[in-house]
């Protein structure tokens, strides 16, 4: 009973932390801050997966946690930092939605997530169910980051956070998904990121900037 309580508390704590790191991206403006927020968030998600593996006895989740940590908390942030250095001080100085409005919209989105996931939380018997709305909230916040930011690199980080939120959701709802699908999802995310990375270089080549607002030639 005590263990159940602790498990539940820790999962909610981990998910809240992941959500707060997501909010961080809406608050700060520099790419370095985004990359470290993403790295920490991936670390937290890996931690939650490992904790769920420990409490539920499903050892496949240890592998998932290791993959998330290795790839998303270490390798990808390193690549992103290299890209950031290459493309100079690209700061989100004027995103489509300003900081205060973004942060408040994020709060509203979290409330929406709570109401949307009510049937799921009601149905679930797992001790991790309290954290499910937070994972969904992170999903919505990441979507908002992709929509409201102007720099291509920030949009990539939004997409990566979206992937994190889905991994977290899968871990919390069902203690993970079948391993073969998990591996496939992982490969997809990795390939997607690598292709996006190549695209960032191409965008910079053709447009001389990473401002997505420049990508407005194709209208109607």
């Amino acid at each position: 009973m005590m263990a159940g309580g602790l498990f539940s508390q820790l999962s909610v704590l981990g998910s809240s932390l992941a959500l707060v790191f997501g909010l961080f991206v809406l608050w700060r403006r520099s790419l370095g801050a985004y990359v470290s927020a993403f790295a920490w968030q991936s670390g937290v998600v890996a931690g939650v997966a490992a904790m769920v593996a420990h409490f539920s006895g499903d050892h496949a989740l240890y592998l998932v946690a290791a993959l998330v940590f290795g790839i998303k908390a270490i390798a990808i942030p390193r690549l992103l930092t290299v890209m950031g250095r290459r493309f100079g001080g690209d700061r989100e100085s004027h995103p489509y939605v300003n900081t205060e409005a973004s942060v408040l919209s994020a709060a509203v989105l979290v409330l929406v997530a709570y109401s949307v996931t009510r049937p799921v939380v009601a149905l679930s018997q797992l001790p991790t169910r309290g954290a499910i709305p937070l994972a969904m909230g992170l999903t919505f916040v990441s979507l908002f980051v992709v929509i409201s930011r102007k720099k291509a690199l920030t949009q990539i980080i939004g997409f990566l956070m979206l992937e994190n939120s889905i991994a977290l959701l899968a871990v919390l709802c069902t203690y993970g998904i079948p391993l073969i699908v998990e591996i496939g999802v992982f490969l997809d995310a990795l390939m997607g990121f690598l292709v996006m990375q190549v695209f960032v270089y191409r965008i910079h080549e053709t447009f001389e900037s990473l401002d997505v607002e420049q990508l407005r030639h194709l209208k109607h």
Binding site: L13, V20, W27, E100, A107, V110, Y114, G130
Partner: protein, 313 residues
């Protein structure tokens, strides 16, 4: 009867401790910056000096200018009577409510802002407008952050919140509490005029907020205002300490419990002073248009704290 005496006693103790708090932070900052620094008792000497000096008042100032320091001081002292310092439950439990605290804080801020506007000096007006901006964003956050705790404890009475937490220690680690703590910490920096929102040691036009509002004051008025802001800092520290980490608070009116409570309070206040001093040394002051961003982040954290503690009840 004894509880009333203890209440008055702890309020007086708070009044007397407050300048030492400010002195401690200044001394710690000096040490961190490799200076010797003035002794911790320096603010007491300053207050003593100011009370002895003549108060110079501008000819444009009205009665408000002279009355404001008293209002601010009284409202701040009133808050010390309703905030849990060393004893819980308080004899003022009838009104020891969250909303009372928020309104009293706002009363003080409001009168300070008016006093900044009253003499008609440019620095005062500028300080007042900046101060009200910060207050407008920070005050709701105080309410919402403490409300997060209140929804967990089932009552907005501060004493009840503290005693409920003593009864169930595991609740202190819930995300609601942690988020509310983070939010209230940021607001404390805003309300008490600390870096990164306001620099208490500057009189540069570009950077001062609180100092600009009280720039015209001198003599006993300045002493009252400075003392009141030190007490405000102490109140926020006590809120942070006793609502989130209430262990050590006396629940009965007995000598050993009260001594333990006093010692616990001093330790907690000391730790918070260290935290604030280190933070002030590490961060630079935020540009003024970035302050609303930080405060809206703290508001959102408080909002998240409320939702998570509401849902997980």
């Amino acid at each position: 009867m004894t509880s009333w005496l203890v209440e008055l006693g702890q309020s007086t103790a708070a009044l007397l401790m407050a300048p030492a708090l400010v002195g401690l932070i200044r001394w710690l900052k000096a040490r961190l910056q490799n200076r010797c620094g003035a002794p911790i008792w320096q603010p007491y000497f300053e207050l003593h000096k100011l009370f002895a000096k003549e108060a110079v008042v501008s000819t444009n100032a009205s009665w408000l200018f002279r009355a404001a320091p008293y209002v601010v001081f009284t409202s701040t002292v009133a808050i010390t009577l309703v905030v849990p310092l060393m004893l819980v439950p308080l004899p003022f439990d009838g009104f020891a409510d969250l909303l009372v605290v928020v309104y009293l804080l706002l009363l003080g801020t409001f009168f300070t802002a008016l006093a900044g506007l009253d003499p008609g000096s440019p620095f005062g007006g500028m300080g007042s407008s900046r101060g009200m901006t910060v207050a407008a964003l920070a005050e709701p956050t105080v309410a919402v952050a403490i409300f997060a705790l209140a929804s967990g404890a089932g009552s907005t009475n501060l004493g009840h919140i503290a005693s409920r937490l003593i009864a169930s220690p595991m609740a202190a680690l819930t995300p609601g509490h942690l988020l509310a703590f983070a939010s209230l910490f940021i607001v404390m920096l805003a309300e008490a005029g600390r870096l990164p929102i306001d620099n208490p040691a500057t009189h540069l036009e570009l950077t001062m907020i609180h100092e600009a509002m009280v720039l015209e004051y001198s003599g006993r008025y300045l002493a009252l205002v400075e003392w009141a802001s030190a007490v405000k800092l102490l109140i926020f520290f006590c809120l942070l300490a006793n609502l989130f980490v209430p262990w050590g608070i006396a629940t009965t009116v007995s000598a050993p419990a009260l001594v333990l409570a006093a010692a616990a309070l001093v330790i907690k206040l000391g730790m918070l002073c260290v935290a604030v001093a280190v933070l002030e040394t590490r961060v630079a002051k935020l540009r003024l248009f970035r302050v609303p961003e930080l405060l809206s982040v703290s508001f959102v954290l408080a909002l998240l704290a409320v939702t998570s503690s509401f849902v997980l009840r």
